[in-house]
Amino acid sequence: MTSVEQRLAAVNVAVALVALFGGVLTGLFQALEYAGVEIYPSLAPVIRSHYHSLTIHGVLNVLVFTTFFICGFVPFILSRSLQAPLASARLGWLTFWLMVAGLVLAAIPLVGNAATVMFTFYPPLKAHWAFYIGLTLVVVATWLVTVNLVLTWRAWRARNPGRRTPLAAFMALVTFAMWTIASVGLAAEMLVLLIPWSLGLVGGTDALLARTLFWFTGHPIVYFWLLPAYLSWYTLVPRQAGGKLFSDPMARTSFILFLILSTPIGIHHQYTDPGIHQGWKLLHALLTFAVFFPSLLTFFNVTASLETAGRARGATGWLNWFGKLPWGDPSVAAQVLAMVLFAFGGIGGLINASFNVNMVVHNTAYIVGHLHLTVGTAVALTFMGITYWLVPHLAGRALWSRGLALAQVWLWFGGMLIFSPTLHELGLRGMPRRTAIGHVSYMQPQWKTLLPLVGIGGAILFLSALLYFLNMALTVTASRRAPQPALEFADTVSGPVHAPAFVDRWQPWLAVAIVLIVVAYGPTIIRLAATTPLTTPGLRVW
């Protein structure tokens, strides 16, 4: 018998993977266009343009795939970590169907080329109203996940007075608490600006106010994607690899810092926007550097945990523990390789965040290279690695092919090693992002030599994704039935008893988080909201 949590996880992950398929397919089109292949004429009338394809790619990958996967995986983990059922199965199903309704509503104009506005949907580009309402429904539904998680945790605490919240449950709660605070910006942008405007209730909008509200959510959304990957790296991968989590106190501390620092840094996406004073931009740069600190703690702690695994498996030297990891396990291999590439994604992120240095890379292909290391590998490859145990667990069947899975994982790693550095370099050579590069009126010779590598890297990534979907489809339909082992979390070298109790107190940290947001964002948002006339008309020019 499967539990409600398992069924909820299964349906959410199923939607996520369907979205990912659409996302990688359209990704292939863009990579080929860059390489000079005339792909779009043969895709008409389904895909109308490079920009139609690109919008589908972005929305499906970073909004739909991530959100559905996280809303399936994280509640499942919380429930297993607390060894308690979800507080409300009914709320769980209501949430899922609300999200599906939102997705369908948004997908109709998206697929129909009535919302070719990119996943950032900057006005005055004006999409069909259903696109905005659909996405808003998905966001609001994620708040119901938060409600369910909190109710589940409170019920557990009432039954277990004085017990420390297990680390995985703690991380699940931090992820959704952070996201709920952070998503207020996007909700405000939708409800106050975009939805009334797209419905024709108000005549105009404002680009800067909309962008500021968007990036209020748009940066922390990357932590909404990353923290569930970290949750797996901290609480599951050490055991899968045969070791222990190095330090539970340090892990908790880093998550509290993510809760506090993820949101008041979004203006680092707007360094090049006129209309915001440099002083505020500098403050957001400072706080962005501060959030680098918990990232470094995570890097250390997860690496040290892998080292315990390598040593438990017989390694004795300084570095050979890395080679001793269980590389034959595709779930471990995927996630360790995701960590390796994420180290470079983190370094690149610091460069982007560095205020005036941002002028070298902003809106160039460099950013595309960066995003494919972070969400495209650290998150996507980790989630794929998770599904290598989660899908068999949910389906009650063995993984169809371990060898195919390993090939998939290494192809993704190798494809990304070609794709991402090439895009970084093209960005440094001045090539813009979000542009049909194969058709630009200003092709530069220093771009032309590198563009075929984008096509080759993208094709390898697509091949990897095909192997992945083949394996997943055969696992749930054709693989042999085999009861899967119960989910077990990693033991620790230094456990939760060594973490000061105040780390687990919510009120002070939530208060600090909100105060920092008010300080970093309050004056700018109040000034813009108070002084900006909403007079910019919308346009649909695609």
């Binding site: 580009l125 090049t272 440099q278 600190f293 049909a436």
Partner: protein
């Protein structure tokens, strides 16, 4: 509490935490030197322009290039789907160019690679950037924000002419 915690855990943690604080602090210091010492700065607040009345604004009613002082050129520029006005700028080598720009419709970008000109053109906002062009040659001005179906054709150029 804290019974049985391996004492080396603290040492390893501390050995990592201290450089992890020093690194971002050091980077921030370097950044402050370039921003305040070398004066390399990002876009700031230069005021608003009513987006439906750009052509009535003194800066934008007559887009073009003027020499405002010896070696100092002012470019008054608008971006609109899918062009820059002016689309071509000629200055002698060694000139400093001050860009004043805005958008007449959608979000556009004003990007001159390798010259610290990277600023968004938002309808309603006045954007400013400045750069020095020392080497004769032709430099592209690129719109680097998606602005509709012909976005990839929105570009201009700066022609830097050798001084005679």
């Amino acid at each position: 509490m804290a019974t049985g915690r391996p004492s080396t855990v603290y040492l390893w943690e501390l050995a990592w935490i201290l450089p992890s604080i020093a690194l971002p602090v050091g980077m921030l210091a370097a950044l402050a030197v370039t921003a305040f010492g070398a004066g390399i700065n990002v876009a700031g607040d230069r005021g608003r322009v009513e987006p439906t009345k750009v052509a009535e604004h003194p800066l934008f009613k007559d887009p073009g290039v003027s020499e405002i002082a010896p070696g100092q050129y002012e470019v008054r520029m608008t971006g609109q789907i899918w062009s820059f006005a002016p689309a071509e700028i000629r200055v002698p080598a060694g000139s400093t160019v001050h860009f004043w720009a805005t958008s007449k419709d959608l979000v556009h970008g004003l990007f001159v690679p390798r010259h610290n000109v990277n600023v968004m053109l938002l309808p309603g906002q006045i954007a400013h950037a400045q750069a020095r062009f020392d080497t004769p040659g032709e430099y592209p001005i690129i719109c680097h924000e998606y602005c509709g179906i012909a976005h990839h054709t929105m570009a201009g150029k700066i022609i830097v002419e050798a001084r005679r």
